[in-house]
């Protein structure tokens, strides 16, 4: 339950943060959540990762679907990813996940250090 709550909270705050601040601002909210809701390092990382990977992945997929994949396909050729918008969504999700995961891990260790 705690794990799930952390994921949901991390995702919500991460979404809100990037609406109003820099693209990477979710790292700060992921860290804060990990400090506030203490979990073991592995779990903290997993929660941080899953939250942002899901947030970014689903957000990208919703946009992509409304757009009929027009732009993602073009970008997947520019980058180049062989025109696969699926890989583009995966990378989008992964970047969010990995930064958020490490931020949460930082939070978890920091909380342990402070105790």
């Amino acid at each position: 339950m705690k794990f799930l709550t952390t994921i949901i909270l991390t995702a919500l705050l991460g979404y809100a943060a990037t609406l109003y601040s820099a693209w990477w601002s979710f790292a700060i909210t992921s860290l804060i959540v990990a400090v506030a809701i203490h979990q073991k390092p592995a779990k903290a990382f997993a929660a941080g990762f899953i939250a942002l990977a899901l947030l970014h992945g689903i957000h990208a997929m919703i946009i992509n679907s409304a757009n009929d994949g027009i732009l993602a396909q073009r970008v997947a050729n520019v980058l180049p990813l062989g025109g696969s918008s699926f890989i583009l969504v995966l990378i989008t999700a992964f970047i969010g996940g990995v930064i958020s995961g490490f931020a949460a891990l930082t939070g978890s260790f920091a909380r342990s250090a402070a105790r």
């Binding site: 860290l31 947030l55 970014h56 957000h59 946009i63 732009l71 025109g83 920091a110 250090a113």
Partner: protein
Amino acid sequence: MKTVPFILAVICAGITISLIVSLDVQLPAGGSKTPRLGYFLSPAKGFWQNAEPVNEDFNGELKLQNLHGNAEVYFDERLVPHVYADNEHDAFFIEGYLHAKFRLWQMDFQTRAAGGRLSEIMGDSSNGTNFLKVDKFFRRLGMVYAAENSLKTIEADPETKAVYDAYAEGVNAYINTLDESSYPFEYKLLNYKPELWTNLKSALFLKYMSLDLAGFEEDFEKTNAKSIFTKEQYAALFPYGHDSLDPIIPKATPLPKQGVNMTPPATADSLYFTFKRTVAPVEPPIKPDKENGSNNWAVAPSKTKNGAAILCNDPHLSLYLPSLWYEIQLTTPTLNVYGVGFPGAPSVIIGFNDNCAWGFTNAERDVRDYYEVKFKDTTMQQYWYNGSWHQTQFRDEIIKIKDKSSDTEHIAMTVWGPVMYDKSYPDKLNTNKAYACCWKAHSGSNELKTFYKLDHAKNYNDYLDAISTYQCPGQNMLFATKSGDIVLKQQGQFPAKWRGQGDFIMPGDDTSFAWRGFIPDSANLIMHNPERGFVSSANQLPYDTSYPYYLGGTYPMYRGYLINRLLQNMNNITVDDMKHLQTNNYNVFAEMARPVLLKYINENNLNSNEKKYLDVFKSWNLYNDSNQAGATVFSLWWDSLMTTTYSDEFSQSSLPLPWPEQTTLLDGIIKDSTAYLFADNTNTSEKETTADNINIAFKKITDTLMHLDLLHKLEWGRFKESGMRHLLRIPALSKLKLPSGGGRNIINAYTQFHGPSWRMVVELTDKINAYGIYPGGQSGNPGSKYYDMFISDYLPGNYYKLLFANKTEMQQYQQLKGKLIFTKS
């Protein structure tokens, strides 16, 4: 405090920060740089935000301070905005706003290109393009200098200044709504930010069009040609006028008397027509497309089925995405106009209003020349002119370069214009000579005034008034009214030149080689309601070569010839007839050339493969339709014949030379079938004839034809591989390898990346009946379905009915894509 977790926390924080930092910078990739990937791929900020929902509605309400009244904008199903404003200020404000909303990056990029500022955003080179070199070219050519001069002229005229100001306010009103999540796609890709719009940017954009349309010359190439050809050879290779020419103003028209003495200076033979010396030619990195041209014609009510004049225009330009044009209707109590304009400048450029319609083709006149300047010493502080040393003015152009320190071009300014080439600007042969560029576009001018007045024009006199101040780039200005007037005039300020003046680099020591002022406007002939019932132009010579002023330039003539031939025989003309004429793929050049080729080809010497392709050519219907293989054979054969005939003579110089026109060879063979001056290959001991060359040229292309055949690329459309490239030339953002007919010398002048950029047919009936299409789409956003939506209709030659509607009609329009309400706050 526990030490181990603390250290781990610091390490993890370090990893997190390094991840963020490395994803927040541009990384080198190939010859260019990646976007800031973290930002670019962020669903909340990056490119995903530019992926516009396909069912996007464009409704909105805007409260803006700078408006004078209220306005409504209705988007039809093609996303063409129909603007209904209380006053003209607001109409042009909204035009600016909409241009920015749909085309901001394009406007920014094109004006940066014109002003030599690409290095600022692209770096000194990227993906194999040397942007610094491109920027230097534009700066040294004097583009910014020219735009500044025009800006002064524009701002001295309160009427046009108000239009420009309103437009810039509108563009900036949109820019001010942007943040990093809503920047257009390319800003995110290239990682830079929009900057505010200025009137100078609009002026720069119009100078860019001047370069495109009145910037073609081959003065250095031709000067080089003088070093290897005799006067006779040169005259045969680069003749003045051609036999099959049908000028815009028919040959029998009385020509004006010479106003100014047009005798060449006494020193011309010793200093200019020398055909000896070699000059260091510096090939400019940018050359306007030689094929930049257009068709326009209007037919009188007497020749049409409905008894109303019909006006047609299709300007031929490089076809890019986003498209050069943006379609719009602007309506106020004093204005009601529909057509296309340039994102980057206010007003409708080509279009129609309640009373009349207008369109343009390029005049193709050479208005850019070079003068050799002698400086006293290497500081270039003084130069020799009219028997004494004159003080040089200098203009420093600072080119900012991304991630590097900036470059300064220290440009000497002379009476002739900016010194474009000197020892500081690439001169591979190190001649240390300096050449000033004298270009009509350098002078301040106010072209917008003409378009603005045409937008308001009601009749023939308004047309004359509108075009009277127009200077550059010279255009054939076509006009037709509901009352049945049709009229065509070549308008512009053209230098008065003696025969041959400005073909080569001229001595700049004194005034003797200067332009003899400008051709008086009365000598720019007009054709108003001619008896033949139509007027037309397609970039051919405006007048017969007996015109008293020299018409230097390059003039394609086959389109014009065919248009006139077809129009002559047409009666009861309908709008559909005109659409068919605009998209006509008949190759009249091939009609004249094929008999010559077939006369000399020796079929007995051909193997079975060669015979097969000759049969393809023989049975060709002479149309450059997409599915015609004969057009491919002809195109390759004629190019091969040109090379076979001329390459021996032209290989005498390793420096750039002008290449003869296709017509020149055809005329040469027809006139002199047995001993054409250039038929013999000077590199062989045998004496080749024209017949030999035609056979050799055909055999040379057989391998290519077989190869194309194997790849199923023999059909013209597959061989030509037409397309529209994105301005950054990124294939994924372009539309490439599209099967399409047309080509050089064809009315449908669609070559690979160049062709009809807007096709318009306007029937001037009581309720105007107009059709048009351009190869692109109203949105410049590659993430929008409107980005390229017209292309699939453009290729087969379809048109859209242009919706010239009043506000009530738009309110009831069924297929609205949205309504933007502008209110004054």
